[in-house]
């Protein structure tokens, strides 16, 4: 890995070269990362991975066109090759929308360091002992759990240093640690699988007992499942499924998709598009978020804002390029492709049990599979393979499997009748996505009636 003095001088050298090569504006960044992963199988460590990677990314603007390239070779020749490639790319581009290299003159230095000493706890021996104990505890939690086919603990640390010809001086770094387990259980000739995930930035905060308790319930509750007769059902979309579902359609909220006619939300800003129970808010500095995100990858300050407020579509996500086209200011959502910092579907008043009471009879959908395939993100049509439970008389009853739910995203968000207060989060966008369970009325379910 390069030391600070080396990469600083490399970056400033690249900007000088870029100017000589005729770039009107340019930006260079150095990024590096280290990672470690320990996996166990059948009582021993079966895989250990470690990595260190670094690279230089260059973005240059010439004749109004912008292109970029990456290299992990730092010789003069390699840097020249990269710059020439970018120059050549600019020559063949004919994008009608102008892109920008940016620096807020009042805020040239952007600094956000979130690494902590807790990262030093991430040692091989620590991960090994946690992983082996976890595997043992999961297997011991129920005799039907036959194998933990996948169990890994991993961590990574990433840093990014960026400067540009407009005077930007930006620096970010962050830590991440996660635990994932996937197991197989067998009972009465049926096989069920389930996975569960924990993440944070301090391995001391991982509660193994709690993880095992939740894990056991997730897998064992799946037994005895049946399909249900095809028809229309009121469903509770479980909080994890809510995150997966909304993440799939989030690209429609990108101003790029809207401007290019790839989102049906084009021209709908300011209009009611969803039930008034739905509030989606971006909170870049959310106190419960693992990573605070004060600025985006383009060096624009992020802002707290409602994307959907009481069903009204307030604003799309904009970066410098799309904001310029729309004649507004960037909303600070330029994260590579357009994305969000920390996003939250705001909780309602009701607990999960109260949602069940409200729905009375219906389905509780916990897992959605094949979201990359079973949806038409543009039209919003979806038909998704899923699992879950029946809800009978206001209570979660037996498991349901081998069904699909089908509807249209834009219709479904109008049919949200209640939002719970059982928040769940997972990494998403440039930060995390937080969401509760919700009731969606009148969803088409395909299944097979079992007498």
């Amino acid at each position: 890995m390069m030391d600070k003095a080396t990469y600083e001088s490399l970056l400033s050298g690249i900007l000088l070269k870029a100017e000589k090569l005729g770039f009107d504006e340019s930006q260079a960044s150095y990024f590096s990362g280290i990672s470690m992963e320990v996996s166990v199988l059948n009582g021993e460590v079966n895989s250990f991975e470690r990595s260190s990677e670094q690279g230089i990314r260059f973005k240059g603007k010439k004749n109004g066109q912008m292109a970029s390239s990456v290299t992990n070779v730092y010789t003069d020749e390699a840097i020249d090759y990269m710059l020439n490639n970018v120059s050549e790319s600019c020559d063949i581009l004919d994008d009608e929308d102008e892109d920008f290299i940016y620096c807020d003159p009042d805020n040239k230095e952007l600094y956000c360091s979130q690494i902590t000493n807790a990262f030093d706890k991430n040692t091989y021996s620590r991960f090994e002992s946690i992983a082996l104990k976890l595997e043992k505890d999961i297997l011991a939690s129920d005799p039907a759990i036959k194998a933990v086919d996948y169990l890994s603990i991993s961590c990574d640390r990433a840093m990014n240093r960026k400067i540009n010809s407009k005077g930007l001086q930006a620096y970010t770094d962050s830590d991440f640690v996660s635990v994932y387990a996937g197991a197989r259980a067998e009972k009465d000739g049926q096989v069920k699988t389930s996975g569960y995930y924990w993440y944070g930035n301090d391995i001391d905060k991982f509660d193994s007992d709690d993880f095992v308790k939740v894990f056991k319930k997730r897998i064992m509750d799946k037994f005895g499942g049946t399909s249900v007769a095809s028809g229309k059902y009121d469903i509770i979309l479980g909080n994890e499924a809510v995150v997966a579902f909304f993440s799939t359609f989030m690209s429609n909220f990108s101003s790029y998709s809207m401007q290019k006619g790839l989102s049906l939300l084009a021209g709908k800003e300011g209009e009611v598009i969803a039930s008034d129970t739905l509030n989606i808010k971006e909170i870049p500095l959310y106190e419960k978020a693992l990573k605070k995100v004060p600025f985006d990858s383009e060096g624009v300050a992020t802002t707290e804002k409602y994307i959907i407020e009481k069903g009204k579509f307030n604003t799309a996500f904009y970066n410098l390029k799309t904001a310029n086209k729309a004649g507004i200011k960037s909303t600070g959502n330029g994260f590579g492709s357009m994305s969000f910092s920390n996003l939250m579907i705001e909780p309602g008043e009701k607990s999960f049990d109260e949602l069940c009471m409200t729905i009375g009879n219906g389905l509780y959908i916990t897992d959605l599979a094949g979201l990359h395939a079973g949806v038409n993100t543009i039209s919003g049509d979806y038909s998704i393979f899923c699992e879950g439970f029946k809800i009978r008389d206001g209570k979660v009853a037996g498991a349901v499997e081998q069904i699909t739910i089908s509807d249209n995203f834009y219709d479904s968000i109008k049919k949200i009748s209640d939002v719970g207060n059982d928040m769940y989060s997972e990494p998403g966008g440039a930060g995390e996505f937080f969401a509760p369970s919700m009731i969606i009325k009148d969803i088409k379910v395909a299944g097979e009636a079992v007498e």
Binding site: T71, L262, A369, H372, A373, S406, G447
Partner: protein, 464 residues
């Protein structure tokens, strides 16, 4: 880059403790791409990426370390640390290095890496212009072109010293039809290991026309019905069903730890008599082909299923240790940042005897899926799902109205037994497959086949 003496020092450091095997994987790839939207080039780029992966094994325990910093001393230190972390019982021997062997699966007359980007742009523009003038309902046309030359070198403690270089090229055209609030797409995305002559010979206008026709038919389509029914799957990308429902469960990644629903089934009947299937990495010039895998295996044409009987699993080096059998040369990975594992190449159901027209005319009621989308599978339970991009109802042996929004779901072990007709029109189709060793190029394929019964998840009531 690393010279032979530094590679030998890395292997020495890796084998200094309890490893019985060590491997150095060196990769360099050069790529170039352009993307077009509505006739304008909106993205162009090229890049060089390189890195080193070092893998150590002791029995079935694995340590994998990687870096994109080629500093030899740093890599020797990393290999030493990996040796410290590996749990094994005894130290293995290091064999003398064979002389270097080079192979390629590419079949090239005109090297795509030498073609100017402006030529690629002109090629895409033909498709884009044709689509945008095809029908007023076609409102957008996106097109992209990428080529990539990947050179790998595998050196290991068993004396293996192999190098391989393949140039892959892929382009795509996606058109969007708009009617009110509805948008539907038609798409092609061929990929090849052949040279630029593939592009020159490709009937781009004809294929773009087909994309436009698909999008226009689907924009006017009603929703697919729900329920169990006979389903006829068109040839080519319809093979994604076999890839998902069966292929993944035949990989040593799942079979080697006995988590697959096809574990211990060799020699047993897992599919209907009409099904014979292969994983053939040796088809010259095909998108999913390779001569040397990403560890030390030479690729093979592997018979998976013969007349319904399971004949072989796809086994990589680690899998061969777990399963006590030979590797079939299928250890693949996206790049040096992944340890290799058993993966598919060109995987297809072989052609049968039925005329596809007869398969349709012998079906009274059901769904005809002429274009499939992607899908996913749980290799343990065998449960899969995949999307239908272009579907039609079959009534009284005739293809009738188009339907959209359908998903097929089922269990791999059941669906293979339900294949009751296999056509004679085998076709392969390029795709990307994601798994624990990353995204890799594969082809799927099949002739037209019929499933006697499968659950269709749609939005309308079915007719019984």
């Amino acid at each position: 880059m690393l010279n032979d003496s530094n590679i030998a020092r890395i292997i020495d450091a890796a084998m200094s403790k309890t490893a019985d095997f060590a491997e150095v994987f060196i990769e360099e790839s050069r790529s170039s791409s352009v993307s077009m939207l509505n006739g304008r080039v909106i993205k162009a780029g090229s890049g060089v990426a390189s890195g080193v992966g070092i893998r150590l094994m002791a029995g079935t325990n694995v340590v994998y370390v990687y870096s994109n910093d080629f500093d030899a001393d740093g890599l020797i230190k990393l290999a030493g640390e990996a040796a410290d972390a590996l749990k094994g019982n005894s130290r293995g021997e290091i064999k003398e290095l064979e002389s270097r062997c080079f192979r390629t699966a590419s079949d090239i007359n005109i090297d795509p890496m030498t073609v100017r980007k402006t030529d690629n742009v002109a090629f895409l523009k033909q498709a884009s212009d044709h689509a945008l003038s095809f029908d007023p309902l076609i409102t957008q046309a996106a097109a992209s072109f990428t080529n990539n030359m990947r050179t790998i070198r595998v050196v290991n403690s068993e004396g293996i010293n192999r190098e391989s270089s393949d140039t892959r090229m892929r382009f795509s055209v996606e058109v969007i039809a708009t009617k009110g609030n509805e948008k539907q797409t038609g798409r092609i995305a061929p990929g090849t290991l052949r040279g630029y002559e593939f592009v020159n010979e490709y009937p781009i206008i004809e294929k773009t026309t087909q994309c436009c026709e698909t999008a226009l038919r689907m924009i006017n389509a009603g929703y697919a019905p729900s329920g169990k029914m006979p389903v006829v799957l068109g040839n080519g990308f319809g093979g994604v069903i076999f890839h998902e429902a069966c292929g993944h469960s035949l990989e040593a990644t799942a079979v080697g730890i006995k988590s697959s629903c096809f574990t211990d089934m060799l020699g047993k009947k897992i599919a209907s008599d009409k099904v014979t299937a292969y994983d053939n990495a040796k088809i010259k010039g095909e998108w999913g082909s390779y001569e040397i895998d990403d560890e030390d295996g030479i690729s093979s044409n592997l018979l998976l299923i013969e007349n319904g009987i399971l004949k072989n699993y796809m086994v990589d080096k680690l899998g061969s240790r777990r399963m006590n059998c030979e590797s079939t040369g299928c250890g693949r990975r996206q790049d040096y940042s992944y340890a290799p594992t058993s993966r598919m190449s060109n995987t297809y159901i072989d052609k049968g005897e039925d005329d596809p027209k007869d398969i349709i005319s012998d079906t009274e009621y059901g769904l005809y899926c002429s274009q499939m989308g992607g899908g996913s599978v749980d290799t343990t339970t065998g449960e899969f799902n995949f999307a239908v991009n272009e579907g039609y109802m079959i009534r009284n042996g005739k293809i009738c109205e188009p339907v959209r929004g359908a998903t097929l779901i089922g269990k791999g072990s059941e669906v293979l037994l339900n294949i009751d007709r296999v056509g004679n029109d085998l076709e392969l189709s390029a795709g990307m497959c994601g798994s624990i060793s990353g995204g890799i190029p594969v082809t799927v394929g099949q002739p037209t086949i019929r499933l006697s019964s499968i659950l269709v998840g749609g939005r309308e009531e079915g007719e019984v």
